[in-house]
Symmetry: C2
Subunit: 402 residues, 2 copies
């Protein structure tokens, strides 16, 4: 990690990347259409929701990605274009066509993403004029409006840019934007995340490295256990950094890039959890000592998605029985008489029973970032996931969301 | 069902059953200790939580039930005696011993149940004097205090009594009490439920009929997806109705009893959902047209436990995309282009896309009892479960529960 530095700016800090965020009228008075463009055709890879109801833009983008090349990404918020049938599919295709025409590209070079309410048809008049406006506004300046244009219930834009030192004494950059913040329980993908790099790297390796980074970041978070129909993470690599080495598989540079990509994805995943709907706290749940990694992960998710555990974190109350109950019903192998639980440094459960340290644990629970550690003491496998609490504000946001 | 009538009264309306509910000081100024006693030793069966962290009373009761006979049940609320180690186990045993001694019974004839906060040791002084008081107060009058004594966050006591006509022109009675109302996602058991009947029936058949009734009632409900460490449903059958037929396996009477038991369990399960923590609505979710019954059930639970679906019911908003998303991520086989969804009589989704009937559906959503029907149109299997909405009050109750 000593070869990776966070830098100012967003995706436009990557060589050859232009972007724009404009208002097209889907979200009154707010940016709702984002365009990302690479001056050079790029290698492109993506991961997508495993929800059976994949939204139209997910289907179109998967189709276009078959050639593993892309030059632009068009994204709207305020409407998910999901469960919209044949018309919705045609509209997603038309979004790609309109963008391709404005940028003078083949349609297949444009990837499409949408986020917002499910089940409404896109107002294509607004989208069409918005796409022209976005193409006219493409720039290499601030990317704040681009990051804002993909937000739904997010309260702040999420972006990060880093620079990495390559062995050839060259440098390359990697940057991304993402959005949350409800219906977050990614599986092989995330809500929406768009990454660009100017590193030159073999496409087959790119895909492998990308999947690994996503598995270690976006696939380890949950806000509410609800997996979206629109989850998508895309990565464009335009090769403009000028390095030759990664195409020749310089192992050291590949390791650097893997570190960089995992770092960037984890950073964005963390921002999504910090901005989870109604969240007041971020909770890092580690389950250790499991017989299988999958069992550790299942226990961590059961804890993270238990409404009783989540509300106790919101209330800053040390009700550790709810944590044991969740481990107990998630279907993994567990010996109740071996389990230890810690809130930060405070051991609250020893061998399955309480240590009477509630008062000390509740001091830890007042913090904004809490580490919860469970040790099953059965094996050596572990898993770590990020989640947030469940507040009254979550209910308020979602009882009326439209 | 024409041989079954609801009658006034609670468990004491069953021949030979006495009960009492007293205050022993676990819940300030409220009844917190219940005792149920049969004047005749009874056949007894039970079903229990499958949570790996089974509470001490669950372990003790399972041990005592090995003889398939019991004469009394002692239950405290306000303390779950779960995750309490060796001391907790000894305390649960002592509850049985103290009750046995007060009633002049062998210890193995007493079953024990607890509900309330996890992880605290029982104050045995209070329990001990409470048991004496309860034994002194055993009566055949109102059972309201008995039903109240097993409540935790419940807002009303839950009891029902029925009479059934047998083929021999005799009658028998069946009655029960239950409690909710958070950590409700039973699996082969329910939170707490105690049933008594004076019907005479073979113990092996009793167990089979009981499991079937539980599977069709308590195992089809969820408040928050959190399965408790203390779930338990017990049934005592003292044979005082004087019928001989069921021991000889009169098939008609067995069918009547199966209907009666399923009716009583379903009634109590429904009351638990109506009184779910913070619940403002009861929602009956039917999933039809599945390839397997298990898949129908998985989809129904995914819908019922989605925080986004639950909050939309609380907000009385027709956000049907959340229902499709839940079906889409629960891992069952589904063809998005075939799915229909109805809110009451209003079809809101046809072949996977919206019908623009939101305004009509939202009138249905204003009701207190809502039927949601999903048809997958893949096969002929179905499942039905009961749940409630997720309100701000649920968060308020659980952020500070102690």
């Amino acid at each position: 990690m000593d070869k990776i530095y966070e830098i100012e700016g967003g995706i436009n800090s990557v060589k050859g990347i232009y972007s724009a965020g404009v208002c097209c009228g889907l979200k009154e008075g707010k940016e709702d259409l984002a365009l990302i463009y690479s001056e050079k055709i790029s290698d492109a890879v993506g991961v997508f929701t495993t929800n059976a109801f994949q939204a139209a833009p997910v289907l179109v983008t998967q189709e276009h990605l078959k050639q593993k090349r892309a030059q632009a990404i068009i994204i709207n918020s305020g409407n998910a274009n999901a469960c919209t049938g044949k018309i919705g599919f045609d509209n997603a295709n038309q979004m790609a066509q309109l963008t391709a025409s404005a940028l003078n590209l083949p349609t297949e070079s444009v990837l499409v993403a949408s986020t917002g309410m499910i089940g409404k048809q896109l107002p294509m008049g607004k989208i069409s004029s918005g796409i022209k406006k976005a193409a006219d506004n493409l720039n290499r300046l601030s990317t704040d409006t681009t990051a804002r244009a993909i937000m739904t219930t997010d309260t702040f834009p999420k972006e990060i840019a880093i620079e990495m030192e390559l062995s050839s004494e060259r440098k390359a950059r990697l940057a991304g934007i993402a959005k949350g913040s409800g219906m977050i329980r990614p599986n092989m993908a995330t809500k929406l995340c768009f990454l660009c790099t100017d590193l030159s790297i073999k496409p087959t390796i790119l895909e492998k490295i990308f999947r690994k980074a996503v598995n270690q970041s976006f696939n380890n978070i949950t806000v509410d256990g609800d997996m979206s129909t629109n989850d998508m993470a895309l990565l464009l690599s335009n090769g403009l950094a000028g390095n030759a080495c990664c195409r020749e598989c310089d192992l050291e540079d590949l390791a650097t890039f893997q570190d960089a990509l995992t770092y960037v994805c984890a950073h964005l995943a963390k921002m999504i959890i910090q901005d989870g709907e109604g969240a007041t706290k971020m909770i890092e749940i580690s389950v250790q000592g499991a017989l299988k990694q999958e069992e550790a992960k299942r226990a961590a998710y059961a804890i993270a998605e238990s409404p009783l555990v989540k509300t106790s974190f919101f209330g800053e109350r040390c009700l550790w029985g709810r944590i044991l109950a969740a481990i107990g019903y998630c279907g993994i192998r567990v010996n109740p008489e071996l389990v230890d639980v810690y809130y930060g440094p405070i051991q609250i459960v020893s061998k399955g029973t309480g240590t009477n340290q509630e008062a000390e644990a509740e001091k830890i629970l007042q913090q904004k970032h809490i580490n919860l550690l469970v040790n099953l003491h059965l094996g050596s496998e572990q898993a770590k996931i990020l989640t947030c609490d469940l507040s009254k504000e979550y209910v308020t946001i979602n009882m009326g969301y439209s």
